[in-house]
Symmetry: none
Subunit: 178 residues, 4 copies
DNA sequence: AATGAATGAGGTTTCATTCAT
DNA sequence: GATGAATGAAACCTCATTCAT
């Protein structure tokens, strides 16, 4: 009951209407408006986080793990532009408290990335030396910017088609090493 | 008079208070609330955009141009955390109209990046093949995420110290090509 | 619910208070402040206009029609001093846009008056020659001034008692033709 | 200095600009905004009132006096549409206190009208019986409506051309006495 | 005498939240 | 459980008025 699908970053009245219930009914399921956003986020972010952790276990090879991670991220949001909109746009409209909660939710994801990177450096799959935090921010920033660009242009193309180009780009960088 | 330094994101009353003037005074210098934000942004973004264009002309060598671009971006925002906060946080809280104006302001910057990338591919400074848009989003996304991380942790360290690590990361990627 | 009786001319807060509801409640029934005034006017003017048109059809005899018109006008406003106050005072405080809408609402009334006057001239009930517009303005101006005087003195006496004196006055003028 | 010509029913800033002085300067000549309106009114109404009293003395014959009165009224306002606008429109936008002051200023005018009417009834120039107040309201209402119509259509035609038609109308009424 | 930048009270409108039904 | 009419705090903005220069 009361699927939190229709969060458009708008008035509670609109959320209620899109969920097909009365305004007051919303408050039977959520404490307040902030709680609605948090719930939507927990659901979406949780999905990505859970998937990333599971993938890490499933694919011990760092290169494969990284590729699967990107794929999971793009697939999850690509299948649900509405939720991507919330994540890329509306979260940033929220106040400090919410943004901190989101940051906390994302932490496992960042730690997974860190572990993949560290393991890859140990196994020689990734080159040395680089600061793991810098690399993590590059990976996350690139994914984030790619999703945002996709959202802002109207989510018209297939996001998963960018998994390999982005993966290659992150792996090889722009420089010509030869 | 009425320096636009104190834009902390929210009510006109707060902006006025932080600027040390009465509510109504704000409207002697700005048409409306949106105008305040746009003004702050034009100033900051304009600075980055102008600098990037100038740097491109000054440094014909693509690798140097890219490094200088990152340096200019980090230096401009690093010197003014307050404005960085507006750019990284408050712009995204604004409505569609403002975000589109910001996107337009940023276009020259993106085009500069594209030109640097294309030139680098021609001269062999950058490797082939890669999609310029994907590369541009990686570069911009990485810079953006790096600045955001800096802001969210309280702008405590020196942002320009990250110019070289980020530059190297973007150039080499995470992969081990040997 | 939310009878539009309590329009006393000024702040929405006052209108709300006099209607016994909260400020925000007003906006459940009216789009904005202008809409409140327009609604009150449409109701009152509509009543007078409708009545005048109906009377014109009912009483083909121009003299009777004119008398009935004056009676209808005085009776409608006489029964509702509050609405008369709005019509005689507050409309004139409104901006150009509203006054033009009111002028449009009144047009059928003026046309009815014109038709009665023209018919009366043809049948010989009214004297020739006179400019219908001048006559119409005399009739309307006299009615209007009579109502205004009644309002400004506190609506203490019975307005309908003036139907015959005004009717006689308009018919005979002040001059002594003998 | 500071001719009160440019009262457009608007902001003090506009009045000041049209008078070619700074905002603050207005307050050297007027106590407050209400005082500006009152001054403009005293000037205009005073002119009409003075003229009407003088005319009454100058023309002992009631019929002539009435005609001269209408002429004075139309000529005064006809020569100065700006002031007519204030009188016909902006006064009615003012609050109760101002309207009462205006009513007081107009009293001598109304008394003059009353005296002319009473004298006319005694001399037989005007017919008996009619209630002087009803007649006065007819005369004043007709004049007022005629001026208002002239103003609202943009003050394009010559108002004084209506002196005789209106005078005849008021004298003869619409009825056919034969 | 004159200025005009600054003020801040007060107006309209929105919308998250409540509660009687 | 569900409703949705009603609420009222709070936001933006205007403009008559003041006062240091």
């Amino acid at each position: 009951m009361m699927a939190v699908s229709g969060y458009h970053g708008a008035q509670v009245a609109r959320i209620a209407r899109e969920a097909g219930v009365a305004d007051g009914t919303v408050y039977l399921y959520f404490k307040n408006k902030e709680d609605i956003l948090i719930s939507v986020l927990r659901e979406t972010i949780g999905q990505i986080v859970t998937l990333s952790t599971w993938l890490e276990g499933e694919h011990p090879e760092p290169l494969t793990a990284l590729r699967k991670l990107i794929e999971a991220h793009f697939r999850t949001l690509g299948q649900n532009p509405e939720l991507a909109l919330v994540l890329q746009v509306h979260v940033r409209q929220a106040d400090r408290a919410i943004r901190e909660q989101v940051a906390n939710m994302m932490k496992p994801y960042h730690r997974t990335l860190d572990r993949i990177l560290e393991l890859g450096q140990e196994t020689g799959a990734f080159r040395r030396p680089f600061d793991v935090r810098v690399a993590r921010r590059m990976i996350f920033g690139t994914i984030d910017e790619t999703v945002s660009a996709w959202i802002f242009t109207g989510a018209k193309y297939d996001l998963t088609a960018l998994v390999d180009p982005v993966y290659d780009m992150l792996l090889g960088g722009v420089g010509n090493r030869s």
